[in-house]
């Protein structure tokens, strides 16, 4: 790669340390669970390399014991990963500042990488694109390595894996809490919580995800005017 200098790697690495610790834990648990379903380390490696969408990989575990239905796998993946559309929309403007963003930046944009794209700033003299590419590549490397290692461990040892999938819930709770600190964004967070809970009660656990996403879009668009006014007020003060 043209600009992926060592300086950019050195600048990127410290930002990825929290992801390294989180992915080690989540990836190991994923590899162990996948092995418990009869698919060893090479399958964990392939999934983490080509799909690289942790939450979907966890959801997919639940489908492995069912007959394979490509259409519903496809639709479920679109649904679970629909939040990536939102990330993409958020990154349209920032990535436009790069002349021709490398496709890998978008391919590898998982939740954690997206949040680092938003928050991490490269030091003076380091190329922005190279810096972001290293963040994305390091994060995926951690995920692939940890899930493969989990697959190895899980093929050798047998665990009682009951409750392991709570790792995913814990991850999202922590992301939610981190965002909750960001006071101006509590209203969209509450809109998401309220809309989803309402749809869960109305449509039941099987069918609520798509209506919930529709309702969230509607509520947020209705709130656009007051929220934009509030934001402008905060920027001015």
């Amino acid at each position: 790669m043209r600009k992926c200098s060592f300086a950019a790697l050195r600048a990127a690495f410290p930002h990825t340390i929290p992801v390294l610790t989180g992915f080690t834990f989540l990836g190991l648990a994923y590899g162990i669970l996948l092995a418990a379903h009869g698919f060893g380390p090479l399958w964990a490696l392939a999934t983490s390399l080509f799909v690289f969408a942790g939450s979907m990989q966890y959801f997919a575990l639940g489908l492995l014991a069912l007959p394979f239905d490509p259409v519903s796998v496809f639709l479920l993946t679109l649904t679970v990963n629909a939040r990536h559309l939102f990330y993409g929309i958020s990154m349209l403007e920032p990535l436009r500042s790069l002349k021709k963003p490398h496709p890998y930046l978008i391919f590898a944009m998982c939740d954690e990488t997206f949040s680092l794209y938003c928050s991490a700033k490269e030091p003076e003299g380091v190329d922005r694109e190279a810096f972001l590419l290293w963040i994305a590549a390091l994060n995926q490397f951690y995920w692939v390595a940890a899930s493969t290692a989990g697959g190895l461990i899980g093929s050798v040892l047998t665990f009682n894996t009951a409750g392991f999938d709570f790792v995913l819930t814990a991850l999202f709770v922590v992301i939610f809490l981190g965002q909750w600190r960001d006071r101006p964004h509590r209203i969209p967070a509450l809109a998401g919580l309220g809309s989803t809970t309402l749809c869960l009660m109305l449509f039941g656990a099987q069918d609520f995800l798509i209506p919930a996403m529709g309702l969230i879009l509607m509520v947020l668009l209705l709130l656009r005017r007051p929220l934009e006014v509030q934001r402008k007020g905060e920027e001015a003060s």
Partner: protein, 112 residues
């Protein structure tokens, strides 16, 4: 308990990969660099990530039943522990690991 053959598993991964690529690239296909992004889309890009994390938390907890034992107690205790740990140390790994170990312990020993 393997229900899928290797070939089916490979197809399973390919389908997930294709759908994931679509969700990640679609906004960039719809709005190439020379096309103006509407204000509503930019606004959604700013607020949606916050709403979506809430959606994912609810999605993860969708299977919890308050009516049937264990009445969502393991989930409630573990989520509460995460909230306390995170408010106290603000360390992502500590919060995730603490909550998960608590849940696995409750599920495997107290409520199994």
């Amino acid at each position: 308990m393997t229900a899928l053959s290797s070939l089916q598993m490979a197809a399973f991964i390919a389908v997930m990969a294709a759908a994931t690529v679509i969700t990640r690239f679609l906004p960039f296909w719809i709005f190439p660099a020379n096309r103006r992004i509407p204000g509503a889309v930019l606004y959604l890009g700013r607020v949606l990530p916050y709403a979506v994390s809430a959606l994912l938390v609810v999605y993860c907890l969708k299977g919890v039943s308050i009516a049937a034992p264990p009445h969502g107690i393991p989930e409630a205790v573990s989520v509460l522990l995460i909230v306390i740990l995170h408010g106290w140390k603000n360390n992502t790994l500590l919060s995730i690991a603490g909550g998960s170990f608590c849940y696995v312990f409750l599920i495997q020993t107290v409520f199994h």
